[in-house]
């Protein structure tokens, strides 16, 4: 009773109960997506420096060491931390080797799709007229084609390969960007500041790049980040179905697909690549959500 209240509160601040620490950590993590950023950072590091990080050659087969379980299981070997697959290749090395493909394909296709989509959206939204009609009819037509089927058809016509895969995945994201940017440009171009710029004699190029693009760029980046998850999953599905990058380069989807008949005998060969895919996709979704709340609250309903 006699102790001054002020002292007590300061004491409380210093000696927080032990169970407060995880709660505080939880709130810090809610404010900043630390774990997703760490996962993405790890993906980038393994993609760049993967060749030096792989404990074994991810491509060379060794029949003597096939289907060795992960090191903590009976018969496991610390030489192969996550075990080996049906051809005796180290699962961990192949996961590390697959990181570069995932990162390359996803960044290249998302960037291509978003740049093309944004450009077309700006032009169609700003100028309207015939070009607008043509582009929107193509977007409509693209929308009614089942995506995985049209991708398979394109892979069938042009053959399997890295560039075909990137192009095909870029096509997944361009229509969404066109629709979104076009709608936003339509509303922006009748704003007073755009009209004033026109009266002041600014050229169309200048208005598009200096006055309209800054108004849509946040939205574009947020939706692109939210879309990466779908792109990664589609890439993995294509690899799984055997329509992705041709062998022998390891990709996560292909690892699951190649080993799925052995799942009863050697679950680790298809389990761990799937976990890798899920972690990257989840991080992409988290980052996208966070960026949306942060940079573009109008998109909340998406």
């Amino acid at each position: 009773m006699n102790t001054p209240i002020t002292k007590k509160t300061t004491e409380n601040k210093i000696d927080r109960p032990i169970w407060n620490a995880p709660i505080r950590l939880f709130f810090i993590m809610r404010r900043y997506p630390i774990i997703p950023m760490m996962v993405i950072g790890l993906l980038i590091i393994t993609a760049i420096f993967g060749t030096w990080m792989e404990p074994h050659d991810p491509i060379r087969a060794d029949v003597l060491s096939r289907h060795i379980p992960p090191f903590w299981m009976e018969g496991g070997d610390t030489k192969f931390l996550l075990g080996t697959d049906a051809l005796g290749r180290d699962v961990l090395s192949r996961i590390i080797g697959g990181a570069s493909v995932t990162l390359l394909v996803v960044t290249a296709s998302v960037t291509t799709g978003v740049v093309v989509g944004t450009g077309l959206g700006l032009v169609t939204g700003y100028f309207g007229g015939f070009v607008d009609d043509v582009v929107m009819r193509i977007v409509d037509a693209w929308g009614i084609l089942p995506q995985l089927l049209i991708i398979i058809i394109i892979v069938l016509t042009f053959g399997q390969g890295l560039f075909v895969l990137i192009g095909v995945l870029a096509m997944l994201s361009w229509t969404g960007a066109v629709r979104l940017v076009r709608a936003e440009t339509l509303s922006l171009r009748s704003r007073d500041y755009v009209l004033l710029a026109q009266i002041a004699g600014a050229s169309n190029t200048r208005i598009i790049f200096r006055h309209i693009l800054p108004g849509v760029i946040n939205m574009v980046i947020v939706t692109a980040t939210l879309g990466t998850g779908t792109i990664i999953l589609t890439e993995a599905s294509l690899s799984f179905l055997g329509a992705g990058i041709p062998p022998p380069d390891p990709t996560w989807g292909k690892m699951v697909g190649d080993e799925r008949m052995y799942v009863g005998a050697a679950w680790w060969t298809s389990f761990f690549p799937g976990i890798a895919i899920a972690m990257v996709v989840m991080s992409g979704n988290f980052l996208g959500d966070w960026m949306r709340d942060r940079f573009d609250p109008t998109l909340r309903q998406l």
């Binding site: 009819r137 193509i138 409509d140 037509a141 693209w142 929308g143 009614i144 084609l145 089942p146 995506q147 995985l148 089927l149 049209i150 398979i152 058809i153 394109i154 892979v155 069938l156 016509t157 042009f158 998850g229 999953l233 993995a236 599905s237 799984f240 179905l241 055997g242 329509a243 989807g253 699951v256 697909g257 799925r260 799942v263 009863g264 679950w267 298809s270 389990f271 690549p273 799937g274 895919i277 899920a278 996709v281 989840m282 979704n285 909340r300 309903q301």
Partner: protein, 313 residues
């Protein structure tokens, strides 16, 4: 309103036409479609058959005329002949479609009856344990690769526990519930997650409105407010989603049917990919596109019926 619906129909036909144009240009992008019949060794068919086939496929005429022939054939219901199976495409699809429809509809219903109520509970428990639990469930559903989920389910329920069969649709004309369960659950998780997220957002918005607060203040029971006042006004976003979900299931069935060896359209598409069977793939794609257009039109009509406030513009 009739005018708007008419406009939608016209736009739909234009979209279908452009889609066919895209498909046709793809089929001609690699040159003469007859090259498919020639193996990598350079042997295949003799010149007489080659010419005969060219005549049958109208390859001796200019490309736009070829396209016109192709479209008119499709309009009359002739999708050509499958290269690998040597049967009319339409017949092959007709044989396989029921299996895919059963799987897709089962997953659709499952996704809806799991996703929508969980979304409502998630919204009414906002910020509490249940909310986080359900949102975690949705996050997993949207992040886990669908083929991986299928394989893990096979591992646990078919290989380890041996409760359910690992694949195929089972014997007889009907599909047994036992065989349907694993593929349907695999296919339904992603849509359930989408339903959950969109229902939650819509419910949160409605729960924040004045009339819901007034209903609570008047003393109407909590559950009545949630389900009768709030949910009925939050139903449009999940309803819109349902059409996209059903269309999106086409992608999912391709993978799930491959994992579970399910004899449907999806596996047919993969078999066509390996046999470089272009007419079959094109036929499947066009039929699904047309079905999707039909569903969007029906959705417009349902909107007008459900919510008279919606004005067409």
């Amino acid at each position: 309103m009739a005018k708007v619906i008419l406009r939608r129909i016209v736009l739909g036909f234009i979209a279908l036409f452009v889609a066919m144009l895209i498909l046709f240009s793809l089929s001609r992008a690699t040159g003469d479609p007859r090259y498919i019949f020639i193996g990598p060794e350079g042997i295949g068919i003799d010149p007489e058959v080659w010419d005969l086939m060219g005549e049958k496929l109208h390859l001796d005429k200019p490309v736009p005329v070829q396209f016109a022939y192709w479209v008119s054939d499709i309009v009359r219901g002739d999708f050509g002949e499958s290269i690998a199976l040597q049967r009319p495409v339409l017949q092959v699809i007709k044989d396989r479609l029921p299996n895919t429809l059963k799987l897709a509809v089962a997953a659709w219903i499952l996704g809806t009856i799991i996703g929508v109520p969980l979304g409502v509970f998630s919204a009414t428990n906002r910020g509490k344990f249940l909310d986080y639990l359900f949102r975690g469930f949705a996050l997993l559903g949207q992040s886990l690769p669908i083929f991986w989920v299928g394989i893990v389910l096979i591992f646990f329920f078919a290989a380890q526990l041996q409760w359910l069969p690992a694949g195929t649709k089972g014997e007889g004309g009907f599909i047994s519930f036992k065989h349907l369960l694993l593929p349907a659950v695999t296919l339904a998780w992603y849509p359930a997650a989408s339903y959950l997220r969109i229902t939650r957002t819509a419910m949160l918005e409605v729960l924040d409105t004045e009339y819901v607060k007034l209903a609570r203040a008047k003393g109407v029971g909590m559950y009545t407010v949630w389900w009768k006042h709030a949910f009925r006004n939050a139903i449009i976003p999940p309803l819109t989603l349902s059409v996209f979900v059903l269309f999106g299931l086409v992608n999912g069935t391709v993978i799930v049917e491959t994992v579970f060896a399910w004899p449907g359209i999806g596996r047919l598409a993969i078999e066509a990919l390996w046999a470089t069977d272009f007419p079959l793939l094109a036929g499947i794609t066009i039929i699904f596109g047309a079905l999707y257009l039909l569903m969007i039109l029906m959705l417009d009509l349902v909107y007008a019926f459900l919510d008279p406030r919606i004005k067409y513009s």
